[in-house]
């Protein structure tokens, strides 16, 4: 789960990591009031996406009046596919130098890693690897101040600032661990009048740890149907095609999308019914799929834990309740398949056992329709 910049900065502030003076605003009037207090200001749209500056979502204002006018403009536009509900209004910093700092997981090394570079700012992706310092953390330990000082010295930081930098890095690592983050990134970390100030914040919380992170705000990036699927325990991603897909297991669902594309079709979605979806879940999932108005439906179930007769019954129920006018192709194999095939046959539906033939058939039917 991504946090908004202002939410990340709240956490920074609580932990003693310095951030620019300012506040978050919901209206241009609020922007005006905040800007009055801080003078020259920077206005930053709060959306859960990067590259906001390049998209025009970060603007400077020299007076409260100007800030208000810019805010009106920012609030009324869409940026990077998001409407703007919040603006962060902050003091404009005098910048001596910009650094990059991040803590994240290196999956291959199976370890948290600290990344620091003296070449911070936009386009960190372009900075050559030799200018990025990498320090692996021992699991379940925090950063000791001496390690922070070593990183500071390696970065080229000098004098008193070595200690200032180290204590800030220790706090960022604490946040990473305590909040179950998978990313804590500060870019740029600004050196301004001998102080290190986090001019930006990007925090991503590990979704699988949200159960023990009760104090965090809940940001939902899912659209309505994704949310509904999530509620019944299924995984859904909207795509831009017209053949609705339901399969079980992430790997086979992806393979199903690949096959549909291979045969010239276009998948409408990724719906992973998981292992062991029961009749009720399957029924709800099918109803949700129908609500997206696809031109065809392809159900591909390899029954391991999932009982294929549950899937067959769920489909027949949905068909009884709703009028399905579009072509449907069902492929079932595995646990209880004889029973499932019989149920469907009695209802006049011939299910497939070969996945590729079934995928070809749904594409042909949708294209012919």
């Amino acid at each position: 789960m991504k946090l908004f910049e202002y939410q990340g900065k709240e956490i920074f502030k609580e932990s003693g990591v310095e951030v620019p003076r300012g506040n978050v605003a919901r209206s241009s009037d609020e922007v005006f009031e905040i800007a009055k207090k801080i003078g020259e200001s920077v206005l930053k749209i709060q959306v859960l996406a990067g590259k906001r500056g390049k998209a025009g979502g970060i603007q400077f204002a020299s007076s409260p009046e100007e800030a208000k006018n810019i805010a009106k403009d920012l609030f009324s536009n869409n940026y990077l596919g998001f409407s703007v509900e919040y603006l962060l209004v902050e003091e404009k910093l005098s910048i001596e130098k910009e650094y990059y700092t991040a803590i994240t997981y290196d999956y291959k090394m199976k370890s948290p890693v600290i990344l620091v570079s003296a070449q911070g700012g936009i386009d960190i992706e372009e900075v050559p690897e030799e200018f990025i310092i990498k320090k692996y953390l021992e699991p379940d330990t925090r950063l000791e101040p001496y390690q922070g000082r070593e990183i500071a010295i390696q970065t080229g930081i000098k004098g008193k600032q070595i200690n200032t930098f180290s204590s800030m890095l220790v706090k960022l690592v604490d946040i990473f661990i305590d909040k179950d983050a998978e990313l804590v990134e500060v870019n740029p970390l600004v050196l301004s009048k001998e102080r290190f100030i986090a001019a930006d914040s990007k925090i991503i919380i590990d979704d699988d740890a949200l159960f023990r992170q009760k104090t965090l705000p809940i940001n939902d990036e899912k659209n309505e149907i994704e949310r509904k699927c999530h509620e019944i325990g299924l995984s859904y991603v909207q795509l831009d095609g017209d053949i609705a897909i339901m399969a079980n297991g992430a790997g086979i669902t992806m393979a199903t999308l690949d096959l549909i594309k291979e045969y010239g079709g276009s998948p409408n979605n990724f719906l992973d019914a998981g292992g062991g979806a029961n009749e009720e879940q399957t029924k709800k999932a099918l109803e949700l799929l129908l609500s997206t108005n696809p031109k065809g439906i392809f159900i591909n179930i390899f029954g391991g834990i999932t009982r294929t007769d549950d899937v067959a019954r769920a489909f027949l129920k949905v068909r009884e309740e709703l009028e399905i006018k579009i072509p449907v192709v069902i492929r079932l194999i595995g646990t209880n398949q004889e029973k499932a095939l019989e149920l469907l046959r009695n209802a006049g539906i011939e299910a497939y056992s070969d996945m590729e033939l079934a995928a070809k058939t749904i594409v042909q039917k949708v294209r012919g329709a």
Binding site: L239, A255, L259, F270
Partner: protein, 292 residues
């Protein structure tokens, strides 16, 4: 001989009294797995499908002796605890079926396992089966018949699909290994490939991968220098748009790494046959094994 798991392997089930644990206890017993006990704290002294339940892993050791493999079914919030309990009780391999384990916990588990020399499959794995000998996992047993093909993968149902395809074409499997779908997992492709290379029962290898991460690229690098047996790969996620997370934690493309194209290229460079649809896998294997 198969790899990692054989007929004699002494297996326990952590979380044996739960819905999943007890169901798969029966399935595994039916397959012939040598289950020597189960663990469910507070429920020691009871029995599940005639398997004795103990309060701790250490109690199983005291009463039954050493443990080769533990399969773990406990919920995500308790999985770290269960895994560490197994690791510090000298279990040689743990099979972590549980999904949605926090990254922080996965790191702690992997580190402890490395220190104690414990092999880890998962988290979020379907398990491992040495065909005809022993099954420690949640896969449907009927498709796993003995034969010359070693299979290693990240994803469950897709593996069943491909193993099912092999079976339909008269090709059985030696051992089928699920590494797990999560971003941080224990054993990796190179380790399993290396074991298959040494295993006399395995004459060809199937690698089932998916987009995201660099596991397949690492596998390709390893194959170049170490594997002389034919390897056939199938990769899922060709049509996935970048940046979209497709269910599995593993299946996400970030920063140009782990794309479908990059993986196919790396594998082909290493001399791996890459199948474009699942049904091609058995055909290529048949071709490679010649007069089977």
């Amino acid at each position: 001989m198969a790899i990692l798991l054989n007929k004699e392997s002494r297996v326990i089930i952590q979380g044996i009294t739960g819905h999943q644990g007890s169901f798969h206890c029966k399935q595994m017993l039916d397959y012939g797995t040598n289950i020597i006990g189960g663990v469910s704290p507070g429920k020691g002294g009871t029995k599940i499908h005639d398997v004795s339940v103990y309060d701790s892993v250490s109690m199983v050791r005291q009463h039954q002796g050493g443990i080769d493999v533990s399969i773990i079914f406990v919920p995500a919030s308790y999985a770290r605890d269960a895994a560490l309990e197994a690791i510090y009780n000298q279990v040689s391999m743990i099979v972590l079926i549980t999904e949605h384990i926090p990254l922080k916990d996965a790191v702690i588990i992997m580190n402890a396992a490395q220190k104690k020399g414990t092999a880890v499959l998962g988290p979020n794995t379907y398990g491992i089966v040495s065909s005809g000998l022993s099954k420690v996992g949640i896969m449907p047993g009927q498709y796993f018949q003995p034969g010359p093909v070693g299979v290693v993968s990240r994803s469950g149902t897709l593996s069943y699909e491909i193993v099912g395809n092999l079976y339909k074409n008269g090709l059985g499997t030696s051992t089928v290994v699920g590494l797990g779908g999560d971003r941080i997992t224990g054993l990796t492709f190179p380790e399993i490939l290396g074991s298959f290379q040494k295993d006399n029962d395995t004459r060809a290898i199937v690698l089932i991968g998916e987009i995201g991460g660099t596991a397949e690229e690492d596998a390709a690098e390893y194959i170049k220098g170490h594997i002389t047996k034919p390897v056939v790969a199938y990769l899922a996620g060709k049509s996935a748009p970048p940046g979209k997370r497709m269910g599995h934690a593993g299946a996400i493309i970030e920063k140009g790494m782990g794309t479908f194209e990059a993986k196919v290229k790396a594998l082909k460079n290493a001399g791996v046959f890459v199948a474009s649809v699942p049904s091609q896998v058995p055909l290529i294997i048949r071709n490679e094994l010649g007069g089977l």
